[in-house]
């Protein structure tokens, strides 16, 4: 083998080695790499017990209840399989609305309610004009309906 080819091999092996090491490390930390826990996992009891964590999902339509004269509020989040009630007292981001993706930070309280101390809004990767969104909404409703009704079973643990 020529010296140049040896160097080529060395560079290739080094990069491959680092990639494998990184892949194994990230795999080991997989759970901690997740920014939030999905609602189904929370309902099934698969969440960190001893510390605060984040949950992510969509705000269920018509589920927001506000307390008169205070910032106390309650809503449900869904991942299209399971739903979970969330209680929160604080300021909401502009994008927070029904049907919107949210990430809530907090801990599970008594009675299967997530007590949030911080709410973040998540937006998706689609950008469109308001008119386009309005016309699309019709199609989406038709598509989503079977998903919400006949979707996978929610297994609580």
């Amino acid at each position: 083998m020529k010296p140049r080819q040896q160097r080529m091999l060395a560079v290739g092996l080094a990069v491959a080695g680092v990639a494998i090491a990184a892949a194994l490390t990230l795999k080991a930390f997989d759970e901690n790499m997740m920014f939030f826990v999905e609602v189904s996992n929370v309902v099934a009891g698969e969440y960190p017990q001893e510390r605060n964590f984040r949950i992510g999902g969509l705000v269920v339509e018509d589920s927001i209840e506000r307390e008169e004269g205070s910032l106390d509020m309650r809503f449900r989040v869904t991942d299209m399989r399971c739903e979970l009630s969330v209680m929160y007292n604080g300021v909401l981001p502009d994008l927070f609305r029904e049907g919107q993706g949210v990430v809530a930070h907090g801990a599970m309280g008594a009675g299967e309610v997530f007590i949030a101390d911080k709410i973040l809004a998540k937006h998706d990767e689609n950008y469109m004009a308001p008119e386009v969104a309005a016309s699309l909404a019709k199609h989406v409703d038709e598509k989503m309906a079977p998903l919400q009704e006949g979707g996978a079973e929610c297994n609580s643990g």
Partner: protein
């Protein structure tokens, strides 16, 4: 064909080539960025959810794209330098690093400004996309610090090339972070399955900005490579002759 590559490896030739290329990179950059800025601000319709605030995408996405492209460029230059013992390739990598760091910084800052009104936070520790992009910035800083801490250019080149290659894995993590793990950051828009998730009047200015930023990177890089080559070759005869010639090195 081979003659072209051999000439490319000669510093005086490369020094002149970079000067010739400059306007061919700078003019398209200027035109594309001018069009992209105007169209992005005035022609593209506001987003159905984010309103006008989404327009920061026209700086954020091109910067983020180049933060990764510049790194790959730097790492590949390093690999070429190591494998073919090509000093000029190392010079190209050295010239690219501060530019990449600048684009990374811009991506982080614009992302933070965008995140505040939309997500409700400037920064979230633990988000894989945000964190890996910050690591990318530190990799650039590490590369530049390592280079300036070693006086011997040949040694610095080698060490930096190795560091750049080791960091490539992080670029892969930045790119796929939003697919592999749950994240506050939204997923891919442009490289989404089934075509870009964006209306055409919003999309074209964005593509123009990405292309314009790439040309801008090329133009700035050509400029920086000239400085780098001149500095590295400062003791050679061709530099002396060029500077003493009537044209004075133009």
């Amino acid at each position: 064909m081979w003659k072209f590559f051999h000439q490319l490896a000669s510093p005086p030739h490369f020094y002149r080539l970079a000067a010739t290329l400059m306007p061919w990179l700078a003019v398209p950059a200027l035109l594309l960025i001018a069009y992209g800025t105007y169209a992005g601000l005035f022609l593209a319709s506001p987003d159905y959810q984010q309103g006008d605030a989404f327009r920061i995408i026209y700086v954020h996405v091109p910067s983020a794209y180049l933060s990764m492209m510049a790194y790959m460029f730097m790492a590949i230059s390093g690999a070429i330098g190591l494998i073919w013992r090509l000093k000029l390739a190392h010079a190209v990598g050295a010239a690219a690093a501060p530019l990449g760091a600048a684009f990374t910084f811009l991506a982080l800052v614009t992302g933070s400004i965008w995140g505040r009104p939309m997500w409700g936070t400037w920064w979230e520790w633990g988000d894989p996309r945000l964190t890996s992009e910050l690591i990318l910035l530190f990799l650039y800083f590490g590369y530049m610090a390592l280079r300036s801490s070693i006086d011997d250019t040949a040694k610095a080149d080698k060490a930096c090339a190795v560091l750049a290659l080791v960091g490539v894995v992080n670029v892969v993590v930045v790119h796929y972070s939003v697919e592999w793990w749950s994240s506050l950051h939204q997923g891919q828009t442009l490289m989404k399955k089934g075509g870009p998730g964006m209306d055409a009047d919003m999309l074209y200015p964005l593509l123009a900005m990405i292309l314009g930023f790439t040309f801008l990177f090329g133009a700035l890089l050509a400029r920086r490579i000239r400085t780098e080559v001149l500095y590295r070759e400062r003791r050679t005869r061709w530099v002396r002759e060029m500077i003493l010639s009537p044209e004075g090195g133009r």
